[in-house]
Symmetry: C2
Subunit: 398 residues, 2 copies
DNA sequence: TGACTTTGTGCCGACACTAAACAAAATACG
DNA sequence: CGTATTTTGTTTAGTGTCGGCACAAAGTCA
């Protein structure tokens, strides 16, 4: 007599993304009857995933007030991990993108990927032991294109890893080694993805991308530029995981040579090093290039040389974004890393360039927004790990 | 006691695309029991959409031979129409992409779009009267980007139409005026789309794109270059119908100026006029540029100047395709128009350029194929018109 | 206080599908 | 040539999910 099994996944996703604060709007969003929505909510509560408030929320409007739906505070979590040029970070993340516990770890990233993957997984396993939370999956974000379906890192940027490192397999093996439990009997199977892709997913679910149908994200790390596309709520990673490698769009035909064989690629023309160079600053070794570029932009934007350099980079970034708009026609663009800082410094210039150089930009220009989530790659890794639960809670939880 | 209503749409699509020749494979493809597949087939037959052969097909293998499923020969049709630089064409198209009747019409395309839209719809209505077939929808292909959701033609290429012509509204009004019946009581509501987009849809369903998950199509008309993307069986037209405007990718930084403000765009560097010019031929006024370019390629490929021109265009096209591969990561590419002819002339050169300039092309290059369907834009217009029936046959047919 | 509005729940039936047994029509094998 | 085997199709009964509807609950409004 259990009702509402088919709508279980969609309902959980609505609560997860905060789009269903009450059973009444859950009813409307799912397009089902109140009876079904009530049954679905009861089932999700029985599974320990959400809570239905005992006291109705204060009713501002007419009619019987609704009870509030929210993510269960003590519910299950997933293990989220991120590896970047300066080290790693591990965290436990609950539904709703809530960071439950984190373990920052800094170390020089070794040339052997398995070392650091073991370390980050061990840190996550430690958090699980400390908190005693149930773990339903694991996700890992790496600064590299990750080929599907084999899960190899094709261009592990500045990690001194060998190209083609089997990161997905190493991650899953590390989870087994550390005894991280999966939803069923055996160990968890981990998902490994590109950090910008996962950041886009996180921004779409919980950040500046909420509600966008076709969301384009572009971000710099310390070097190079990454892109990601979320279509109708799902990450578009192409037929083999290699979509949105936007770094080699031509944005300055007479520009710097790029290792790809062309000249003036987005990668070499708009990353932090390009900005520092354009501003006439020799990058120092003490902090990351991204940090130096951000600091320069924040503290010396009054300096004409710095400002001119910023405008130059913005113009080239705008050219690249316009090209992407012509191809992808997104309804929102989100920028991260240095690009986000450049957008903050002069929002109008970038929007104007994009509108001017995209074919139909004049009629209705695309909103360009800064990303809003802290640790969005990490949260995105968690989102990927949650995905099987969101797709079918019953199969995962039994 | 009617079984198999939910699976009706998917089942019809399988028969429509020829992927379900028998009830046995229909069972496997739908992932249901034989009982359900049988009921679904019976329901579709009762609706007059498919036929189940009385005699079993000659059995080559063991076991009871399967009865053949096929599209009902005398079944309903949709009205498909296409407008291009040289005139228009109207046709009735059944399921399976079968052209049932066609009415080619040539006229100089007038500056007022409503005239020719009325004419093409009137031609289609004539076919309906002649054949007496039931009409379930209508689709129109135009050589222009069509903005959604308002259905206006933004850049009606070489049709001397005003930019922003409300083609979708004009088409629907013409259908009402000509008395073309829709599935229900009132007149049909027409779908209007870009011709390359619709061609891609047709190739994906019935042509060289069958089975591709992420299909990229690039084609020239007489002038300019169009692109289209089919993702998981659905056309990706972006958030406002303007995706895959690929004509302004930079493929020759020092190239010809383009009306978009840049230089060396795919549009001006790889279209028929670019080829004729590169080969040192002055285009004549008698036949279309596309025809002249194709003829030149076919008859004088031995001429070193012609061959050099072809290779130049191929190299630039390859650069553009490589850029698209880096962004979209399709698992197949289909070329039309002059690009198709260039591919036929020297398949290896184009594939080599794309593999060399796409980031991960060396590891596993993308298949590049010529389009295989005659009148693929017209068939694609029909596909768009069929879509509501494929999505939910019962609602449309009652 | 009573009418109205909105939310939540219990009960019943519709219905799409599965499961399992049976029937049919071919090939394979003795 | 007849029987076993394999594969396909159909019938029947059963199951689970959801919609419809009536009713209850909990607030606002007059």
């Amino acid at each position: 007599m259990e009702r509402g099994r088919g709508a279980l996944g969609p309902a959980l996703e609505l609560v997860h993304t905060g789009r269903a604060p009450t059973r009444a709007v859950l009813t409307a969003e799912l397009g089902v009857t109140r009876a079904t929505a009530g049954a679905v909510a009861a089932e999700l509560e029985a599974l320990g995933l959400i809570t239905v408030d005992a006291r109705p929320a204060a009713a501002g409007s007419q009619g019987r007030p609704s009870h509030r739906l929210s993510v269960a505070p003590g519910g299950p979590v997933v293990l989220a991990a991120q590896i970047h040029a300066d080290g790693f970070r591990a965290a436990l993340v609950g539904l709703g993108g809530r960071m439950v516990a984190t373990a920052p770890g800094c170390m020089t990233v070794p040339a052997d990927p398995s070392h650091i993957i073991d370390a980050v997984v061990e840190a996550g396993a430690g958090l699980l032991r400390e908190t005693g939370r149930r773990c339903l999956g694991a996700g890992l974000a790496v600064p590299s294109a990750v080929a599907e379906p084999d899960g190899t890192a094709l261009n592990p940027l500045h990690l001194s890893w060998p190209a083609g490192a089997p990161v997905s397999r190493l991650f899953t093996e590390a989870l087994a080694k550390a005894g991280v439990p999966g939803p069923g009997e055996g160990p968890a199977t981990g998902f490994t993805g590109n950090d910008v892709n996962l950041a886009a997913l996180a921004e779409h679910r919980h950040g500046a991308g909420r509600g966008a149908r076709h969301l384009l994200c572009v971000a710099t790390g310390h070097r190079g530029v990454g892109g990601a596309l979320v279509l109708d709520g799902r990450l578009h990673s192409g037929s083999s995981g290699l979509a949105l490698e936007v770094g080699h769009l031509t944005v300055n035909p007479a520009g710097l040579p790029c290792h790809c064989g062309s000249r003036g690629c987005l990668d070499v023309e708009t990353d932090p090093l390009a900005f520092l160079t354009a501003a006439g600053r020799a990058p120092g070794p003490e902090v990351s290039l991204l940090q130096q570029a951000r600091d320069l932009l924040r503290t010396e934007y009054g300096d004409p040389a710095v400002r001119a350099a910023a405008e130059l980079i913005v113009d080239r970034l705008g050219l690249g974004l316009a090209g992407l708009v012509n191809i992808l026609n997104p309804d929102r663009i989100i920028l991260g890393g240095l690009h986000r800082a450049l957008l903050d410094a002069d929002p109008e210039r970038l929007r104007a360039v994009v509108a001017d150089r995209s074919l139909w930009g004049r009629s209705g220009s695309v909103p360009i927004l800064p990303c809003t989530l802290d640790h969005n790659s990490l949260i995105g890794a968690a989102e990927a790990a949650w995905q099987p639960v969101l797709d079918d809670p019953l199969t995962v939880l039994g």
